[in-house]
């Protein structure tokens, strides 16, 4: 791998990864709702940040893990809507370095949002989230009616 490949500033990146498709869709949605000038100012069509997500499940829960390094807990927002979990937030750059000369800028600062729809109903009231070492972990218990049921059939 060529080290120069990493050099591109995020805002010049022309290669949206697979995960970016979701944010591209969000951008298109916004395109029809906002005046073009506003979009041009804040456009992240070509850049944006799509944090890596891991989602897994067992019998009782869904587990979502999102890589969100360098955020403050209070800047992360979680919401559930129609069986979809939205994680959004804003990563702010270090004010103290505003004046400094930038030699390399690969990190993304600004807003992000990702939504994933969960295959079954979850018990919204008991969702738990934890943010540690730059990773947000969310545990979403499955709703009782969505859990697989085991029915004993007695054969006589």
């Amino acid at each position: 791998m060529n080290s120069l490949a990493r050099w591109q500033r995020p805002e010049l990146s022309m290669w949206p990864g697979f995960g970016r498709l979701t944010s591209l869709r969000d951008e298109i949605d916004r395109l029809f709702e906002e005046p073009l000038a506003a979009l041009a100012r804040s456009s992240q069509l070509l850049s944006g940040w799509t944090p890596a997500f891991d989602v897994c499940e067992d019998k009782d829960n869904f587990y979502v893990r999102a890589e969100l390094p360098g955020m403050r807990k209070e800047d992360i927002e979680l919401s559930m809507h129609n069986g979809s979990l939205s994680i959004s937030g804003e990563r702010k750059s270090d004010e103290a370095l505003k004046e400094a000369e930038v030699y390399r800028s690969e990190r993304f600062f600004g807003r992000f949002q990702r939504t994933i729809s969960l295959p079954t109903q979850v018990a919204v009231e008991t969702i738990k989230a934890q943010y540690k070492d730059g990773i947000l972990s969310v545990t979403l218990p499955k709703a009782e009616e969505a859990k697989p049921k085991h029915i004993d059939v007695k054969v006589s």
Partner: protein
């Protein structure tokens, strides 16, 4: 001063270990350089910084446990992080300090006193 944390050389995979390269920002202030590297899943204990000659190597070992249950999708890497930077000779390597905060490493690389801009007062 263009001899910064100049060219970056990628770590050679001598031990057949796979690494991913963390995203970094590098800033220069009048006192030195600040390097921020994104390594989600790495805490203080998993961090290794080595200075050798004019090269600094940052290695981060993840401590997240692998997904145990059935994965619906998996985008994160399991590999550790590593990246090597060449240092500006003006950096006082004895005073390099590091801090880890929510998966972001912040390295402070002060310039040695003799290269800092100084005002000389005229009597």
């Amino acid at each position: 001063m263009n001899a910064t944390l100049q060219k970056e050389t990628r770590a050679t995979n001598e031990r057949e270990t796979q690494f991913v390269s963390p995203e970094v920002n590098i800033y220069e202030t009048k006192d030195g350089y600040i390097l921020e590297a994104e390594m989600p899943g790495v805490n203080k204990e998993g961090l290794e910084i080595t200075l050798e000659g004019n090269e600094i190597t940052i290695t981060g070992h993840r401590h997240t446990e692998p997904l145990s249950s059935q994965a619906l999708f998996h985008e994160s890497h399991n590999a550790d992080y590593q990246r090597v930077f060449e240092l500006d000779p003006a950096i006082d390597t004895a005073k390099v300090s590091a801090r880890m905060d929510q998966g972001v490493l912040k390295l402070t690389l002060p310039k040695s006193e003799r290269v800092k801009p100084r005002k000389i007062s005229v009597d």
